[in-house]
Structure formats: C-alpha cells, structure tokens
C-alpha cells in the first residue's frame, strides 16, 4: 500500500503539471542546419533561452522584426538569450541581399528546402517560437507586430529568470 501511494502522488502531480498549463511538456523539434560558420543544431542551446524566428527575404513584416530581434539579442545575451533566425529563401543570394539592407546581429541558419518549418507547423511568415532552457516550446507568435513587442520581451525575461 505504501508503494502504490509513493507512485500515485508523483503521478498525479505530473498529470496536474501537464494539464495545468504551467509547464507545456512539448519539446521543441530538434534540427541541424547549415549556418554561417559550420552547422547549427538546437541541441547545442540546451540551457539557454532560444528565440527561434522563421523568416524570408520576401516577408515584409521581417523588415520590422529584425531591428527588434537585434535589440533583444544585444540586451539579453549575457543572461543567456540566443536569437536564432532560420532563413527559408530557396536562393541564398536573396537572403544575403536582405541582410545587406537589414542586418541580423544574431545566429543565422539556412533551410532552403523548408524541412524545419514543417516540423514547427509554421502557418504564416514570419513565425517565432520561444524555447525555454529545457528545450520546451513555450510560446508561439504568428506574424510580427510592434504592438506585441513589449509582451514578447516580458515573456523572454520570464523564461530567462526561470531556472
């Protein structure tokens, strides 16, 4: 009887955690893609908070999101934030031309075959995801709106402060 009691409590507690919404136990899908200097894989960033952004040169809201992402990366780098942009242009030169006009001062990965967005069920361009230090996919943001920037910054801070 004491054995089953020891099992029931943690089991119930886990169930409670999962369904309470406090901890979304959904792991962010892993990937390994080409970067500017060698390969980039999501595994490498376990322990950091990752702001993952799917973008393309033709995506108009990306012109507004990049300056904000640059700001976030610079501000919270020391606290453990990694802004990771995954470019989905089929031609790398399109991405390069965009970056010439609007620089991205954060980690860049390239997925011209569009393998990763399928895993993340991307519906619109751009879409960004916040991944906590344990690799869980916590927040999804479809599109980019300046009015939501403060709220997203608060989410980043909350995840950085969590152990």
């Amino acid at each position: 009887m004491s054995v089953s009691f020891k099992l029931v409590l943690p089991a119930l507690f886990s169930v409670f955690l999962i369904y309470s919404g406090h901890v979304k136990a959904e792991k962010a899908p892993g990937f390994t893609l080409a970067g500017d200097n060698g390969k980039i894989s999501l595994q490498k960033y376990r322990g950091k908070v990752v702001y993952l952004d799917f973008w393309a040169s033709w995506c108009v809201p990306c012109r507004k999101s990049f300056p904000w992402m640059n700001e976030m990366q610079a501000k919270y780098k020391s606290k453990g934030l990694v802004v990771l942009g995954i470019n989905l242009d089929e031609s790398k030169s399109d991405a390069k031309n965009f970056l010439k006009q609007i620089p991205g001062n954060f980690t860049m990965a390239y997925d011209p075959n569009g393998v990763t967005p399928g895993k993340y069920k991307v519906e619109v361009m751009p879409t960004s995801y916040l991944i906590d230090r344990r690799g869980n996919l916590v927040h999804t943001h479809r599109g980019f709106k300046k009015s939501k920037a403060d709220k997203m910054e608060a989410e980043i801070q909350a995840l950085l402060n969590k152990k």
């Binding site: 033709w58 995506c59 809201p61 967005p117 399928g118 991307v122 519906e123 361009m125 599109g143």
Partner: protein
C-alpha cells in the same frame, strides 16, 4: 495618319520580338500553371509575395484603362475583389 502608323508599327514589332518568348512562355505556363496544382506552404510563397504577381499590380494603370474602356464600350466591370498570394502576417 502617319504618326499613328509608325507607333503601331513599333508596337507591333515589339510584340513580334517578344512573340517567340510569348509562345514558349504561354505553352509552358499552360502546363506549369493550369495543370499543376499544389498545396503551397506559407514559406514557399516567395514568388507570390512579389508585387508583380498581384492580380492588379499597378492600380493607377488599371484605373486608367477601366475608365477609357468604360467610356467607349458597352461592357463594364468584372474585376475587383482580391486576396491570396502572400502568407505574411
């Protein structure tokens, strides 16, 4: 009038020059577009997002044409309403 003939001639020549390209493009377009349907993913909309691909890609020119033909011909309307294309935001 001679002036109009010359312009018409130049335009006709230009159309002829593009004619071969036109023929090839049209036949390719027929096979590429009308008969190949695919469920395009949001991140595959790079071409569709370009301004040139909008069905009405030049508002002031379409507007001018509609007025010219509206005032000289009996049939009117048909266009208008839009959507589709970009998967942005």
């Amino acid at each position: 009038m001679k002036k109009n003939l010359t312009i018409h001639g130049i335009l006709a020549c230009l159309l002829l020059l593009t004619g071969c390209s036109t023929m090839k493009d049209v036949s390719n377009a027929v096979t590429d577009s009308l008969f190949s349907y695919e469920k395009v993913k949001p991140w595959q909309k790079g071409e569709l997002a370009k301004e040139d691909m909008q069905l009405v890609d030049d508002g002031v020119m379409t507007y001018a044409d509609d007025h010219i033909y509206f005032s000289k011909e009996a049939a009117t309307g048909g266009k208008g309403v839009g959507g589709g294309g970009c998967g942005c935001n």
